[in-house]
Subunit: 195 residues, 2 copies
């Protein structure tokens, strides 16, 4: 039983970056076979079909990225530091924390009109990010760091949206220039709401 779970995890580890880079539709089981050096039959011992494997890969990508992010954020001492850490964490779109870029953007746009299961996973991932940011702002308001009239919910959404948009721009241009404008603008707004 231990061996089985080990192999299953091994497959997910190898498959996750491939799915995040090529997309679900464009990734074949042969791609995963090649990456894992496992036989086709072995794949189907651990995953009943490609869709199940793809879902596991989506979950894995979100978890790995989330864990890395939370590890950084948890080191922050102030609410402002939390927001800055969040922004800095995603500020390099050309060399992003996860191979293939942001999984919320990648899987979200692909799943949009075709895969309701993955779409809902991404929807939850987005909500998690928005809430995370909103809660940091609320915390900062509560402890007197931020202006009390700052709309935490709205600005949580704004930060997330701007970072995702900046991610897209910078990935397409192959340069972090525009992302740095986003980062600068967001940090300036945070400063303006700092007491």
């Amino acid at each position: 039983m231990a061996k089985g779970e080990e192999t299953r995890q091994f497959i997910i580890d190898k498959a996750a970056p491939i799915f995040n880079t090529k997309g679900i539709a464009a990734t074949s089981m042969s791609d995963i076979m090649e990456a894992t050096k496992l036989s086709k039959g072995s794949m189907y011992v651990h995953f009943e079909n490609k869709e199940v494997l793809a879902c596991a890969a989506v979950d894995h990508n979100m978890k790995v990225l989330g864990d890395k992010l939370m590890a950084k954020i948890s080191q922050s001492k102030t609410a402002k530091e939390e927001l800055f850490t969040y922004i800095d964490f995603f500020s390099n779109a050309v060399n992003p924390p996860l191979t293939g870029g942001c999984p919320l953007l990648n899987f979200g746009t692909e799943a949009d009109d075709t895969n309701p299961v993955v779409k809902e996973k991404i929807n939850q991932g987005i909500k998690f990010n928005q809430k995370l940011l909103e809660n940091s702002i609320k915390k900062g308001i509560a402890n007197g760091e931020f202006k009390p009239d700052w709309n935490a919910g709205d600005f949580g959404t704004v930060i997330f949206a701007m970072m995702e948009g900046g991610h897209l721009i910078s990935r397409m241009s192959g340069s972090n220039d525009k992302m740095q404008i986003i980062v600068k603008t967001l940090k300036k707004t945070i400063e303006e709401n700092t007491l």
Copy 2:
């Protein structure tokens, strides 16, 4: 000669929304055959392969969307009105101006690590949007509508990034709620920079 070009355009018209909805990899030539009711051989009379057809579909989607946008914006009398029109035009992500949503987001994320030709097309499309917004702001500064110290280039990028991010959020949630927060925030900032 006239007939040939007519059929070619007909195929593109039918194919474009399918590619924008399902993605390039997940769209098959059979899908296009079914939509056009044309034979497979006929498709290959007008397009040497799927990649060429996909590129034509990407171009078409961007052009149709761009034309619709410019038609609206050209009716604006002031620079502020131009910016508001741009924002309003993209404010409904659940029922977007183009079937399948924003092609820059859709094709951009898919092409990112796999299709340099399409990627560059999207890169140019993004730059066009940024420049369009930047020029509206510059125009507004020049004619005394906006504060002269407003950074046109930066804010052009910010508007575009926020709208794309908002588009993603609202598509995933199936609600325009978060997009409306984005719209509200952007318009407020524009007002703050209006003299």
